[in-house]
Amino acid sequence: MKTKIFKPKKSAVLTQGNQAVVEGALAAGVEFFAGYPITPASEIAEGFARELPQIGGKFLQMEDEIAGMAAVIGASLAGKKAITATSGPGFALKQENLGFATMIEVPVVVVNVQRVGPSTGLPTAPSQGDVMQTRWGRNGDQEIIALAPSSVAESYELTIKAVNLSEKFRQPVVLLLDEVIGHLREKIHLKSKEEIEIYNRKKPESNQNSDQFLPYQLTDDLIPPMADYGSGFKYHTSGLFHDQSGFPDGKKETAKFMQDRLHNKLHNNLDQIIFYEKNIRSDDNAAVLSYGSAARAAISTVNTARKDNLKAGWFKLQTIWPFAEEAVAELAAQVDTIIVPELNQGQLIREVKKAAAGRAKVIGINSYAGDLIRPEEIRALLEEVL
């Protein structure tokens, strides 16, 4: 068997979105992947299978999607930054354990390279159909962080951000690619260690008083320090509502307190979680608001429309959840019309309408059978409203 020859990585590479996720995760310090093969996400598993053992990390191909989710949570509790990757049907299977990770506050990243659903759907065609599955796919009220890249370079950048956010907030983070972004090849610049800001989870200081250790201690930032398994704290973790000691507590006050804390630890820090880019001029009357692969058509349409003196701007969400309500409300006050192209029957547009609250007209352009949204469709609508 011919063995691989190792070469130092070049900083500029031509690569696909799925591979950029692998590069971004490794750059952010991920040392563990567990998952199950699924189209169109399998290149992520293949990338980690190749790369992780080279740096002493671990790759596990599990028996099913559920086990993949469970194993990354276990690895994170053992002290490793961990990631899994799937597509819509697999994401559905991961939901219970994703809710468990939220409840027990374990940092993990779940990549969902979206394909057309429902069910087996169109496995090799792009979709943004899992936006609401990401938000509401689990039982109970709960927050989730979800980021959506619109290019290969952004896949790299947002994977680093996803890992950092999960570590910082002890919170699972979902990275929503779609088939086009996952398989698109573009040139990206891999960063050196010095160029990347890395956030590692807060750990308890020492195990001298491990008997008094509170694994879910109420701290000012509402994010309890997390102890690695094997570091002597001997603490308990349960998906039941629990008090600061981590032990089940069925009192309604405890359940409310815990749900409020889980909500507030994110909502007190939205400025650190919500990312977007925009280009809105003061005299623009319409804006195209988009995310993921739909943003590519949106931005290019606006750029050409401006050459023809159409008063249009663009707004690209990088963070989908929590939704950028304030920024979108501001946008609605600025323009008369917001156009929302999405590769679904209209999911995030509901949030846009809610945030706009009647201040701007919100119109969707939807493609949900595997086709991308064409710039001409957006252009036609822009001309109609302007």
Binding site: K58, N97, K234
Partner: protein, 274 residues
């Protein structure tokens, strides 16, 4: 025997019903662990959902009470991420033979170094007595009000088919043997599986008129036979009986999963050096 070292005394009394065998299993596990010489601080105990799932809350280790059926999958992640940890799974017959049966098969197949203790009380106890894949055919259960028509099966044979290296069965009526089995399982390098017969006089016993815990333990004794004796029984004599003891023990540390992966890492490092 310093039980206080291994138990979270302030979490007692436990929630198990009077006469339940799960406390016996917990007791014997602690005794075996104390004798094993393993480092308590480097041991993680992981459970699923149901009566057995609550065992982890009483044990003074790093403990994880997970989702239904998935304890072994979480344990695989913990062990793989840090092979220096001893990882024990406490799981029930619902967890291990129904909703999470797949994880049991594949952990055995991979020969990953986990110690799986399966509490088999032949019923879904916590939810009130629905039949599990371990409930004998013909028995009563709240979801089998006209008698159970499902066939129960031999979990030890399933694990053997999947390639498990250490397979044993013990029962709460013979605590001395069960403790010895736990000790051997903890020391085994590679995947180990101990089916532990437990009695449930409340959720199983009442609807099957099985009597109190003592009567159920007597029945358990009648239905089981030592593995040594078992091998001498005729086909007819074996029917309805279960062998107890270490049923299979193959030392094959070379094939242990985390070790095999470590070999890949080492090999790649060597190549990189060139």
């Amino acid at each position: 025997m310093d039980f206080e070292k291994y138990l979270r005394i302030d979490k007692l009394p436990h929630i198990w019903c009077p006469g339940c065998g799960h406390g016996t299993i917990l007791n014997l596990f602690i005794r075996a662990f104390a004798e094993s010489g393993l480092d308590q601080d480097k041991t993680v105990v992981i459970s699923g959902i149901g009566c057995s799932g609550r065992a982890t809350g009483y044990l003074n280790f790093d403990t994880l009470h997970t989702t239904h059926g998935r304890a072994i999958a979480f344990a695989a992640g913990v062990k793989m991420a840090n092979p220096g940890l001893n990882v024990v799974v406490m799981t029930g017959d619902g967890d291990g033979s129904a909703i999470g049966g797949n994880h049991l098969i594949h952990a055995a197949r991979r020969n990953i170094d986990l110690t799986v203790i399966l509490f088999n009380n032949q019923i879904y106890g916590m939810t009130g007595g629905q039949f599990s894949p371990m409930t004998p055919t013909g028995d009563q259960a709240t979801t089998a009000p006209y008698g159970n028509i499902d066939q129960n099966f031999d979990l030890a044979k399933l694990v053997e088919g999947a390639g498990g290296g250490f397979i044993a069965r013990g029962a709460t009526h013979d605590p001395r043997q069960l403790k010895k089995i736990y000790l051997a399982a903890l020391k085994h390098k590679g995947f180990s599986f101990v089916e532990s017969f437990s009695q449930c006089p409340v959720s199983y016993g009442r609807q099957n008129k099985a009597g109190d815990a003592v009567e159920m333990l007597k029945k358990q004794q009648e239905d089981t036979v030592s593995f040594k004796k078992w091998q001498e029984l005729s086909f007819e004599e074996k029917q309805g009986k279960y062998p107890l003891g270490i049923l299979k023990e193959v030392e094959n540390p070379e094939s242990e999963y985390t070790e095999s992966y470590q070999k890949i890492i080492k090999k790649l490092k060597k190549e990189e050096a060139f």
